[in-house]
């Protein structure tokens, strides 16, 4: 079976159908609180896909994805109050700015062994947390930082998506495009280079692959996706809080990406549900949300030790077994 760019795998078609169903029905199911939570979950699913593919396909660990989302959100907010450009333009600029900032932050580690990228991104996450806490997020004020006391100026949502329901649909579309963007890369020559790099960086170099370039490229994609997600989050909430982008959040997102299953789109969805919806549910049931940390930590250890493909991987195996094939 020749593997062309536009082939539709069972997993892929399931994903597209899932996205379509969400698009159609999700906004109708929820009241305004849960609408916001669901939108947030969709956005974080997109951000997770960025960090997950880097780990699954290249073994690269980035512990600062949520921090990068913060950069995207900051740029979106600043542009929103500075100029009159449409939401989409701001989102693209936010994605590009985050990509570049991500490169600057990761630069010390991209030519070194994988461990160093984890360390450098962890430090970056810490640094970004401090920056956001110190300089806050723009809300219509003057100057570079654009922060003012008092209530914030209004935020301009996309022309197509003014209501919360429409915005949720908008996010679903953008997130799906994000997933397809990554998958497209995987099916073309970058994906081939990444697969060989995963196998052995030496072999990749011997095959003419510029390993640093491809690793940088992958990190750039993750950064751009984080930037776009952050921009969408700004659009959803209208304002952003530095508490959303703490270092611990980036660490948890990465942990959940593994727990969910870094190789699969379903894994990113599961990760986002756990990340955004589980704490809400715990709250509703009167359980201390600190225990979510314990669950996530234990889940990460379990996934690393016994189930490297995460929950989504186990679901895939189950489905394969039920269909009678080899798992």
């Amino acid at each position: 079976m020749d593997r062309s760019l536009f082939r539709l795998t069972p997993s892929g078609s399931t994903g597209l159908i899932f996205a379509a169903l969400c698009f159609a029905f999700l906004p109708m199911l929820a009241g305004s609180y849960w609408l916001s939570v669901l939108t947030s979950a969709v956005i974080f699913a997109m951000a997770t896909s960025g960090v997950a593919f880097m780990y699954a396909r290249l073994g690269m660990v980035s512990l600062t994805q949520v921090g990068l989302m913060g950069i995207g959100g900051w740029v979106m907010l600043r542009l929103n109050y500075l100029f009159d450009w449409p939401f989409e333009v701001n989102m693209v600029l936010a994605a590009l700015a985050t990509m570049i900032c991500g490169w600057i932050l990761a630069l010390p580690a991209l030519r070194m062994r994988g461990l160093y990228l984890a360390l450098v991104t962890l430090m970056a996450a810490g640094g970004l947390e401090i920056l956001f806490a110190t300089y806050q997020f723009p809300n219509g004020g003057e100057g570079f930082w654009g922060v003012k006391i008092g209530s914030s100026d209004p935020f301009r949502r996309p022309w197509l998506a003014q209501t919360p329901e429409a915005y949720l649909r908008y996010c679903i579309v953008i997130a799906t495009l994000g997933f397809l963007f990554i998958e497209g890369h995987r099916r073309l020559f970058p994906g081939r280079a990444w697969a060989l790099i995963r196998r052995s960086e030496a072999a990749a170099m011997a095959a003419g692959v510029n390993v640093t370039l491809y690793k940088t490229w992958a990190f750039g994609i993750a950064g751009a996706i984080a930037g776009a997600s952050g921009a969408l989050l700004a659009g959803s909430l209208g304002l952003l809080d530095d508490g959303t982008f703490r270092a611990s959040e980036s660490i948890m997102l990465f942990a959940l990406a593994i727990v969910g299953g870094a190789r699969f789109w379903l894994g990113a969805v599961i990760a986002a549900v756990l990340f955004r919806i589980l704490p809400g549910l715990l709250n509703t049931w009167g359980v201390d949300t600190d225990l979510a940390l314990v669950i996530f930590g234990a889940g990460l250890l379990h996934a690393l030790i016994t189930a490297p493909n995460g929950i989504a991987g186990q679901i895939h195996d189950l489905v394969a077994r039920l269909r009678g094939g080899k798992p």
Binding site: L63, L119, A292, L301
Partner: protein, 318 residues
Amino acid sequence: MTRGSWVNWGVYAALMAGIWLALAGGMPFKVTGMFLASGLAIGSLYALGGIGMVVLYRASGVLNFSAGAAGAAGAMTAWQLVQWGLWPPLAWVGCIAVALALTLAYGRYLAPLLAWRETVVKAVATLGFALIILGLVSFIWIDDPRSLELPTDQIGIVLFGLRVTATRLMAFAAAIAIVIGIWAFLGRTEIGLQMRAVANARDLSALLGIPIRRVETIAWGISGLLAGFTGLMFANLIRLEPVVITFMVIPSIAAALAGRLNSLSLVLVGGLSMGVIESLLTLSPVLKGVRPIAPFVIAALVLLWSQRGTRLTFGGRD
């Protein structure tokens, strides 16, 4: 030491001197000296955290991100014991004991399950453990402002015309003493020799009959003891808050990177300079808000500098 590391020492010293002149040049030493003392104390803790990481990493291949969390658990336990009326020195021992127990538990029961995985995976797993500890500690103790006092807080010692609290002096002295102690241990005892062998070539050491498990356990033990001590000191010198202490692992990593995950003396001087520079930045009206970033920036610059002119090579094991 090689000429190369003398150069590194020189660079750190020059950096500290430069920042000092830039920010503190015109002010009386009585004022700026306070920042220097405070910076040296915190820097000592960064260095100790870094040293614990490097010793364990070299001996076992695990970069332990949960050291901060273990320290936080220990510090909260000590606080609780004091609340219950226990004689404080015993509570501090309790702090170190809890951190040691948690670290050894991981090293003995969980780390072996990942022994053959990549270094990154082993490190990420310790993150999972850190989350578990942090979650439990946050669950057990509700979010409240607390403080951990040591009797040395009340004692002031006059040095070079400055009044320095004994606690800060203790942190600094401890860092120096521990580095010397570990250096002596690694260089002069048989176990230390075995640990260096394992750090250098694990498979060969196993073939030579070196008891890997025992060496590793000792390394985990050292890591746990240091985690407990630094947790206690961070609780006193910075803040007794589980999240804050847990994430003190980040500047410790910065210090470890300053030593290229290898040289203890460079971790020491790197950590000290990070603490000092961070503290001195308080004097800069522009940068004082973001001074906690100083360790990261320094570590990033160190990494970039160490890569100049090199390609990705495969000569050694790292």
